[in-house]
Amino acid sequence: MMKTEGGGNKARKHRFGDAIFQFTRNRLAVFCLLVLGAIIFCALFADLIAPFGIDEQQISEALQAPSRSHWFGTDNYGRDIFSRVLHGGRVSLLVAIAATLLSTVFGVLFGSVAGYYEGRIGNLIMRIMDIFMAIPSLLMAIVLAASFGAGLNNTILAIAISSIPSFTRVVRAPILAVKQNEYMEASRAIGARTPRLILRHILPNILAIVIVQSTLGVANAIISVASLSFLGLGVQPPTPEWGTMLSAGRAYITKCYWMVTFPGLAIVLSVICLNVLGDALRDALDPRLKM
């Protein structure tokens, strides 16, 4: 929408400038952003960074403790855990981000329809979401993954579907509030149509909430992916994935701590960073603080 005109860009910059300034004042959040950036960078360029291939087995070097040649040690097949954590990050993050994007899109769609058309349609959507929410989301993901069958795409789908209901709810509530504002009626009074009302006036008003929710959603999705894979319902071995690696290392936990520690650390680190980031974004984008 704002592509050609210089003035428009100036206005945009102005609006997000405040938010960025607020964000940079939060040191912890900036640190977490850097860590997260590093994790994503490593996952993206895993091929170049990893010293060993993901399936490179050296039976003679199986179950070695961390050393100079194998930073994170090796697993029971003699595969380098550092390389597998890097490649695993690629899968975990990809699945988590894809699932969150999917649930964001559908959550916003259902939420805005349910919020805007409060009557019968809204009720119908929300009651369906209530039914879905009555089932714990991990359990739901497990059921879905089990019925779709294991695999990358099905995992994404299962996690996305299980998190759509909460998204819908989070989006609907502020829409109900925004809808009541007089400027909605005012824009109707200048001749705007319903789609324009939703896209131009309602959604931008709840954008901050959507951004925060999806950041936190990615963190949840990472845990869900790992959980599903740990249970053998998600990404299948030999594809490296943090949850799968945890699952494989479980049997050796008493003797070879490194098999579960490093994938576990990767999960913890990315989830903590995403959560801190989400909170910082919430503070930075909160319009109440901007006045």
Partner: protein, 327 residues
């Protein structure tokens, strides 16, 4: 210009069907005409149905629970209640525009004011580039007395009076033929009120726009309006030129409104309000709606609803009695 009808509302009837209170008869048989270039003041207490009349003309009564039950709204010869919603959308903001009561809430907080003025231009005028739109928006801002370069600012960076100027700029952007101003100065303090009224008067004269001014401030009406309609419980109880209504008040309700104004010269220490409350629109009293509060009420007032009598001067009043010489 003179004497040509722009808007003619006939027997407009709007009801709200609520679950808890049953049918609320918000607007009952309201009829009035508005000529080109004229200003009509619609006066009445809170809840008299003034805003509903305005929304009825714009066809913005939210349905459900509201419903325009009967009547006609002829705008430049066309019955707006019959045209398609799509056509209506091309009228709103273009030929008829509205100024809302509270400028604090009628601007979208996340959009620059320039973009909000540009939006109405974009919706209704010939396609033009973003730059042209923004330039026109800046021109509109200048017109209402705000520097054009402020069009990249957000609503929260403006004061209440300036926001109302922006709302006026949006309303005037497409040079409409009719402006409906719904209590445009209620949310502003008195000095700003005067400025805004002056601005509206000036712009109205320059553009020859007709206006419906909804207010409960009799002073505002005196300053701005050619004709006045006094609304009580969804009915017009008195209608005439500003002079007629102010100098030759006919209806006891209008009289009560004038008497409840504090006097600058008298030494009374108390206000003289009209006794009682506005009737519940879901349970209107029989006969004349005002009779429970009317100091001149008789049994006949309860028995049947008085018609809107037309006096020889064109002054209309919905009262059985003649009030002349009683004030």
């Amino acid at each position: 210009m003179e004497g040509k009808k722009l808007l003619s509302v006939k027997n407009l009837k709007i009801q709200y069907n609520t679950r808890s209170m049953g049918i609320c008869r918000a607007v009952n048989d309201v009829s009035f005409d508005l000529n080109y270039g004229e200003t009509l003041g619609v006066v009445g207490e809170t809840g008299a149905g003034k805003t509903t009349i305005a929304k009825g003309i714009m066809r913005l009564v939210s349905t459900p629970p509201g419903k325009i039950v009967a009547g006609e709204v002829c705008f430049a010869g066309e019955n707006l209640l019959k045209v398609s919603e799509k056509k209506m959308q091309t009228y709103r903001g273009n030929k008829i525009s509205m100024i809302f009561q509270d400028p604090m809430t009628s601007l979208n907080p996340i959009d620059t004011v320039g973009a909000q003025i540009a939006e109405v231009l974009k919706l209704h005028s010939a396609p033009m580039s973003k730059q042209q739109l923004m330039r026109k928006a800046a021109d509109m801002l200048e017109m209402v007395g705000i520097p054009g370069e402020r069009s990249y600012d957000y609503p929260h960076q403006f004061s209440g009076g300036m926001k109302q100027r922006i709302v006026i700029a949006i309303a005037l952007a497409c040079s409409p033929e009719l402006i409906i101003a719904d209590e445009p100065t209620t949310a502003l303090d008195v000095t700003i009120q005067a400025q805004i009224l002056e601005l509206m008067n000036k712009l109205k004269k320059e553009t020859q726009t007709s206006m419906i001014l909804i207010t409960h401030d009799l002073g505002v009406v005196a300053e701005m309006c050619d004709k006045v309609a006094v609304v009580y419980a969804g009915e017009i109880v008195e209608y005439g030129t500003a002079r007629q209504v102010y100098k030759e008040t006919q209806h006891p309700y209008t009289l009560g409104l004038f008497q409840s104004l504090p006097s600058l010269t008298g030494d009374e220490t108390r206000l003289k309000p009209i006794a009682g409350m506005m009737p519940d629109p879901s349970d209107l009293p029989p006969g004349c709606c005002f009779h429970p509060r009317c100091p001149f009420a008789e049994n006949a007032c309860q028995a049947s609803k008085p018609p809107l009598r037309v006096l020889e001067t064109g002054h209309k009043v919905r009262c059985m009695k003649s009030l002349n010489g009683r004030s």
